[in-house]
């Protein structure tokens, strides 16, 4: 029960934007770059083979 309360009060104080999501931005951007690189790698393989 105390466990539950702890969680509750924490999330009350932490509306969005209060905590930083910097790492999330970096993670998603890295993911985005990875998507672009992989996709174009296969695209150039395709062009090279045709």
């Amino acid at each position: 029960m105390s466990e539950m309360n702890k969680q509750k009060s924490k999330s009350h104080t932490s509306g969005e934007n209060h905590t930083s999501l910097k790492t999330t931005l970096i993670f998603t951007m890295t993911l985005g770059v990875l998507i672009l690189l992989s996709w174009f790698a296969v695209f150039f393989l395709f062009l090279e083979r045709s």
């Binding site: 969005e16 934007n17 999330t24 931005l25 985005g32 996709w39 395709f46 045709s50």
Partner: protein, 157 residues
């Protein structure tokens, strides 16, 4: 509905990438002809021997460096099972099936399409390197599927 600022950035980046990919393949396809094989002609698969084209499958020369190869896929091989063209030739493959679904696939090239009974499918390839090219079937067609192959011999000019 509240969206975090970073999430907006990510969505713009992500959706932007998707649009970019669609743009690239769209332009490649509709402006430069890199279309997926989508031929619409049909044949009578059970009576290919009466078909004007597929009754006598084989290689025909169109001009100095262009050939047309009509082939029939049938469990578990192709007819003819070997063709020979000079280096640098462009070959237009027209393939149909006499029984079940097969594929016509030349590993290492973009020639890789389904061969559905009743339909004709096509692709074109220019063979710039001499050598023996393996053609195989990569659509499961029965117990002997893994034996189904043919060769294209590209001879030096």
């Amino acid at each position: 509905m509240h969206i975090h600022k970073y999430e907006k950035i990510w969505l713009i980046f992500g959706v932007g990438s998707l649009v970019l990919f669609l743009g690239v393949i769209g332009v490649a396809a509709f402006a430069f002809g890199h279309q997926p094989p989508s031929h619409m002609a049909t044949v009578d698969a059970e009576n290919l021997d009466q078909d004007p084209v597929f009754s006598e499958p084989g290689l025909t020369k169109i001009d100095e460096s262009t050939y047309r190869a009509t082939l029939v896929a049938q469990a578990f091989g192709y007819n003819p099972n070997r063709i020979e063209v000079p280096e640098g030739s462009t070959v237009l493959f027209e393939v149909t099936s006499a029984d079940v679904v097969h594929s016509f696939t030349i590993p290492g090239t973009n020639v890789n399409f389904m061969v559905t009974p009743g339909h004709v499918n096509m692709a074109e390839h220019t063979f710039n390197e001499p050598g023996e090219y393996l053609v195989l079937c990569n659509e499961y067609c029965g117990t002997g599927h893994h034996y189904m192959s043919m060769t294209i011999e590209v001879v030096p000019r």
